[in-house]
Symmetry: C2
DNA sequence: GACTCTATCAACACTGTGTCGAGTAAGTCA
DNA sequence: TGACTTACTCGACACAGTGTTGATAGAGTC
């Protein structure tokens, strides 16, 4: 388990198009493929429309009809591909989260080479970069948690993954004597990961108050290092 | 400006019943009062119904009809008292936030007597206690920010108030030599206040991951003290 | 040429919001 | 006392959005 790895996103039933569900699951390699070509296009068109619209306005102002129109189909046809608007957003968020979890070798290298400061910075930078590119999607995912149990579960799973990674790093640093004992490692990890979530979200959406985009990582890392090592300049 | 004071909540137009708006604003002391008695009852009944239902289920599962029925009136009559469901929730959240901001003498006393640890603890305890009593209202207020600009502004104002207070305390502690220099005080305050918001919300709603209710304050205060003073046991 | 499977949509049923206009009841004033 | 005002109430409507049904068309298969 390495730092900031993505906890292997679930293939959720709710987002699978009805077309694929169970029906003759096994055979037909190409015939199916050919028949599905148009269908795959539509599905992609819906997802692309949603991504585009989400950068223009909030999820609550986007209707199923908007998504259908954007994909060049009627509203009932939309329901052939997705069971609901929420399912579209969950699919998109799933992918974003998967993207954000990538590139861990880079982090491991940074941890080994540059010590904890560099390691944490690279980890947080990667995460932040992935989300910063699509603030609309981040916002939609967050908004969705207000009404959608599945969205809450997905995000809880992501958070648990990060917390587990950070807990492991804190324990390792304490074991090798680099960090002093203190709060239970998991408690500290939870508080720090939650701080990051909230602070980065606020910055991403330019809330008030929020940290400036070009300073947010410096501030967060400073708090992390002080909370974990007792100083902002721990030795490698 | 003292720590954790409530930044004087605005009287928002949107929540004022139509009945009061402008129309013959000045005269008639008692006649008006008598005539309004029943109306005040209704208004209170709506607010009480909303508070009750919000502890039972989320805002998205409560309709205007539910509120009207609960208050013993028809749906159109509801609109005589409030312009929308959101306005009801904003009124309730307003009051909760005002409650949470009270009792500052206690905090000032604690800051003076017990030093920063006690001061911060009393401040955070008061806040947390006010919110913990009505998690449904907290959740509704939070959920509302997804769709309602006014809810976002109200919360932004509350956060700004806390950040301003914490910034002032950090600067004071640095000025008297109790805290070392470091990050810009406001940046640090933003990060810490955001951490608290997120962590306390998660604990309140028993999210996963979240800190245990009986440990959340200990954990947060430890991080605060380390981030501000460089140690979890600053001298008074 | 019947059969199947994917894909499509008009029309419908339903839920929830917010408005309109017609009331009633109680108080005010000429 | 009786016309007038004000607070309050709600049936009926218009509208927006969701999700379903059932009929149908085309492409591929046997």
């Amino acid at each position: 388990m390495s730092i900031f790895s993505t906890p292997c996103i679930v293939k959720r039933m709710a987002v699978a198009p009805k077309a694929q569900s169970a029906s003759t699951a096994a055979p037909k390699g190409r015939g199916r493929r050919g028949a599905r070509a148009s269908g795959d296009d539509r599905e992609r068109a819906i997802l692309e429309t949603a991504e585009r619209l989400l950068e223009e306005r909030p999820l609550s102002e986007i209707s199923v009809d908007d998504l259908a129109k954007g994909a060049g189909i009627s509203r009932p046809t939309f329901y052939f591909y997705f069971p609901s608007k929420d399912a579209v957003v969950l699919t998109i968020v799933d992918r974003l989260v998967a993207d954000a979890g990538g590139s861990r070798e880079e982090i491991i290298t940074a941890l080994a080479d540059g010590g904890p400061q560099a390691g944490f910075r690279v980890g947080l930078e990667n995460l932040y970069a992935a989300f910063r590119a699509r603030p609309g999607v981040v916002r939609a995912g967050t908004d969705l948690r207000a009404t959608n149990q599945e969205a809450r579960e997905l995000w809880a799973q992501v958070m648990e993954g990060w917390v587990a990674d950070v807990t492991a790093v804190i324990e390792a640093e304490r074991a090798r004597g680099a960090a002093p004992p203190g709060l239970p490692a998991r408690d500290l990890a939870i508080a720090l990961v939650q701080m990051n979530e909230r602070a980065q979200y606020a910055t991403l959406l330019d809330e008030s108050p929020s940290l400036e985009a070009d300073r947010v990582l410096d501030v967060l890392i400073d708090v992390w290092l002080r909370a974990i090592y007792g100083t902002a300049e721990p030795k490698p």
